[in-house]
Symmetry: C2
Subunit: 264 residues, 2 copies
Amino acid sequence: MKNYQAYLIDLDGTVYAGSKQYPKAKAFVERIQAAHIPFKFVTNNTTKLPVDVVANLADNHDIHVSPENVYTAGLATADFLDQRAGKTGKRTVYVVGEIGLNQALAAKGFTIDEEHPEYVVVGLDSDVTYEKFAKAILAIRSGSTFIGTNSDSNIPKARGLMPGAGALVDLVRYATQTEPIFVGKPEPILLQNSLALMGIAPDQALMVGDNYQTDILAGIHAGVDTLLTYTGVSTPDQVAQQAIQPTYTVPDLAHWDLEVGPID
Amino acid sequence: MKNYQAYLIDLDGTVYAGSKQYPKAKAFVERIQAAHIPFKFVTNNTTKLPVDVVANLADNHDIHVSPENVYTAGLATADFLDQRAGKTGKRTVYVVGEIGLNQALAAKGFTIDEEHPEYVVVGLDSDVTYEKFAKAILAIRSGSTFIGTNSDSNIPKARGLMPGAGALVDLVRYATQTEPIFVGKPEPILLQNSLALMGIAPDQALMVGDNYQTDILAGIHAGVDTLLTYTGVSTPDQVAQQAIQPTYTVPDLAHWDLEVGPID
């Protein structure tokens, strides 16, 4: 096994499950911290700020990290558009989304234009309305570039599987007949940007997650080795059917040794 | 040409275009009325009541008909569920929609159940919220039957092409991974129910509309002859590419003689 120089780690299903603690995952994070290995939690969440993610980990899971250890799809979307706009491009945007997305875009100098924005960004928004969808659709039909933060169909909540960002994006796709550019996992952008921020090459990092369709595919797309932990969405039967296998699989993160790899 | 015993007529693009009057279409309707031929306007609209459709025709287009001449996808959805529920089925529903749909369902004895309805009906709703989508999605995921009033991607308004019922339905489809049962055109239900209400066999009626993908396909699916008028959505080039052609095509409805058929 390689001696990985950095870890990219999914959150829900990997480090915890909603409000349920995963003590083995907590111990895994603490082993990485004790070994002084750089790591980032990479999450498709766009509704929270990194400080909120940190607070949730501390308050509900007794896992203590800093905001620099968190990279959300909200931040990744802002960084992606920042790179795309460059030094001369227009920085106007219309956003269907919440604070984690809005604040990240504002921090990169993007301002709101409700009628003729350069970009329309659609993410999870629990205050979405017909009017917000209409503005997004009219702008895209007038030539704005259509960005989807991520394609997740659902987000798990206590009430059940609620509509995810991908469902909101899909309404806009259907009404514009335009395919969005997606930023979140399984696209590679979230991982690529995280590694660039840490100064680590893709072949020196390991992506850890519970969901083949998002975490593992993102790793494959980014050229990053992958570790699938069977503590969330994906099952061994589902994974067995995939053409490209994860680099490693473990029943839980107690079965991963930082120096040895998977252990019994 | 057959002597058609009844006419089924689309509205927007056929009888008018938004607020724009079509004098030739008005004359066509008046010729049908003078000849005492039964007719119904068949529309995918679910937001208006038949009396509102009648008032719009009278006030803005000087076309004077009765509510019995109007059959909306709202009425068709209620009639479809009425038939499906029969005498013993549960009549509970959760609705994403407006008055034309809600009132039609209430008139057939359907009551609202926000948690465990027999049916979830999704149509156009300019007051839609994330919470409404969430209730629809949780119910369908718990076993409710998923009905879409119609699959229209957009509705033309003064501001541009706004999100249509089909876009709202598509969000729910994406988040439930469940295909809806559609009622409106191009499905045949709207036409079949209209003909049943008039006591006319499908092969004795003519469907008139401007949109191949909705009006003409609905006629084809219902076994009803079709007349495409090039006064709206479809163009001759688009129609030429279709495997099944409309029975007749005319540049406008002045070119249709009730006894002769298409005329120069």
